[in-house]
């Protein structure tokens, strides 16, 4: 599975949204993306990519796009 697929799967699983909504997902657009959703999402992503996000990164993980940028900082090619 490619990294981008892994990331998309994490969104589907973590936020319980359909695949077609993943790319446009933001904290404001997804109902379930509250703190519980955020935690669940971050936990899945950390496990999937075997990385540990910094406090600031966890907090800035507020959209699919932002997530891509954060992963790039961890040298993950998307």
């Amino acid at each position: 599975m490619s990294n981008i697929e892994k990331l998309k799967d994490a969104f589907v699983e973590g936020l319980e949204i359909p695949m077609e909504e993943v790319e446009t997902a933001t904290m404001d657009s997804v109902d379930k993306w509250d703190s519980i959703g955020q935690m669940s999402l971050v936990a899945i992503i950390e496990d999937a990519f075997e990385i540990e996000l910094e406090p600031d990164e966890v907090m800035q993980f507020t959209s699919f796009e932002a997530g891509k940028e954060i992963l790039k900082n961890h040298n993950i090619d998307l």
Partner: protein, 466 residues
């Protein structure tokens, strides 16, 4: 006046919220006197709350004017609000100004983004001791109310302020909702002390949250187990928060691992970690573990707060005095409320608890006199610290699908929902997730042939677990 608000310096800040709102003790005194001239005593007011200075000012003033408030979330499920409105028939609402239009009431008074509205209904009969109402259920929001009496929140605020040693210098971070018993207790114990509360709506995972508490020099934090899960996930110990000196936990049992992590962290960073225990029925806190005992009594709820007493009883109701013997935990103290309410007639009832509350929790006491919760007699779960009633969940599911058979059990990690119709599996999961506002992964829907029952017709929950 309530909490001697009128004796605090008028210019001292009682509350600051993360939308820029500010409320001084002087403004509280003024608001109270204004509302006293507008509103007769003993009105029934639904307070639709947000962690905003306007919501807090309204509640404290209405309380002190001897009107009875039911605290609800401003974001409450519309259908549930309708049920509550029809059940109790409030004569007034205190709510965010932006909500007036949808409800179409006449505005009587406005204050910092909140308004007092008249519904046109006459207040129901309210018992003279009835001081306020709160809902028991964090998430399923069953219309079951807890009837508080005068003296409940006053004594709990005083005793909790004493436990923590709050002074007027304290700046308490309140992101727990004010309509939630522990959130309100954090607020009240600070107001009692003449301190400042920092009311927060944005969530712990937001950079705005941390910017706000840094800028406002938040000095203590109170969280439910879920808050601590988040802090753990955020690698909280990496943050530089020199003003934050006290961390308190309550509203559910922290895992022993997290308990130890935070107890150790507090020792290392010279902060205080307080594990506390409370229920809505006891106007929040009833026990606490002194911070110096935290690392040596992992998982303990400590002992009773001042003026309170914890008692363990066996199945025959006899007191257990030996150490390490399990029994049901009872609490006796001035913060024990009067009882429940499920219909408007109940609001006229007097004290049914009579100062003693059976927590429904099974506990034991160690040789040092510290209590530990070991299980639960009552039918509810705490999913991430939010109380979810199993009976109410069953009712919601059954009613939404034409009276289907349904049984709910589980533990604090996940609710197990048993139904008999395969085709409803996904819909049931979706419904209960929506109604509780919790992720669907907290619910495991299982299809079985039939729901096991005793001859009496009651569900045999033990048989479900097999």
């Amino acid at each position: 006046m309530l909490f001697d608000i009128d004796k605090k310096p008028a210019s001292a800040m009682a509350a600051i919220d993360d939308a820029g709102g500010q409320l001084t003790y002087g403004e509280l005194v003024h608001l109270r006197s204004e509302l006293a001239t507008i509103l007769p005593e003993r009105e029934l007011v639904f307070c639709l709350c947000e962690n905003r200075v306007g919501a807090l000012g309204g509640f404290l003033s209405l309380y002190d004017c001897k009107d009875v408030c039911l605290l609800l979330s401003a974001h409450i499920d519309k259908a549930l609000l309708k049920v509550l409105d029809e059940t109790y028939g409030p004569s007034y609402y205190w709510m965010p100004e932006v909500m007036v239009e949808e409800r179409g009431y006449e505005i009587v008074y406005d204050f910092k983004g909140f308004v007092l509205c008249k519904t046109g209904k006459k207040a129901p009969e309210l018992h003279s001791d009835l001081s306020m109402l709160m809902t028991t259920s964090g998430t399923t929001g069953s219309p079951k109310l807890v009837r508080h009496k005068y003296g409940n929140i006053e004594s709990n605020a005083k005793n909790v302020a004493k436990v923590f040693g709050w002074t007027q210098e304290e700046r308490g971070i309140v992101d727990l909702p004010m309509q939630y018993t522990m959130g309100l207790n954090v607020i009240n114990s600070h107001i009692y002390a003449g301190a400042t509360v920092l009311l927060i709506e944005v969530n712990l995972m937001s950079p705005k949250y941390w910017a706000f508490i840094k800028e406002q020099k938040g000095s203590n934090f109170t969280g439910v187990p879920f808050s601590y899960e988040i802090l753990n996930r955020l690698r909280f110990w990496k943050m530089d928060l020199p003003y934050l000196t006290t961390m308190a936990e309550g509203g559910g049992k922290l895992s022993d691992t997290l308990f130890k992590t935070f107890a150790d962290f507090a020792v290392e960073k010279d902060k205080r970690f307080f594990a506390t225990f409370g229920t809505t029925e006891t106007s929040a806190r009833l026990a606490y573990l002194p911070p110096e005992q935290a690392t040596t009594h992992i998982g303990s709820i400590g002992h009773a707060i001042p003026e309170g007493q914890l008692i363990l009883v066996d199945q025959n109701g006899l007191e257990i005095t030996e150490a390490d013997v399990e029994g049901e935990l009872l609490y006796e103290g001035p913060n024990v409320t009067m009882g429940y309410g499920t219909c408007v007639e109940d609001l006229a009832k007097g004290d049914e608890f009579c100062g003693v509350y059976e927590t429904g929790d099974l506990a034991k006491k160690d040789a040092d006199g510290f209590f530990y919760i070991v299980g639960r007699k009552k039918r509810f779960l705490k999913l991430f610290g939010l109380r979810v009633s199993l009976d109410q969940s069953e009712k919601i599911i059954s009613e939404n699908f034409g009276g289907i058979e349904c049984a709910c059990t589980g533990d604090d990690d996940q609710m197990l929902i048993y139904i008999t119709q395969e085709d409803l599996k996904d819909e049931v999961k979706k419904l209960i997730s929506e109604k509780t506002g919790l992720m669907a992964k907290f619910f495991d829907v299982r299809v079985i042939e039939s729901i096991p029952r005793f001859e009496s017709g009651k569900i045999n929950y033990k048989a479900l677990g097999q």
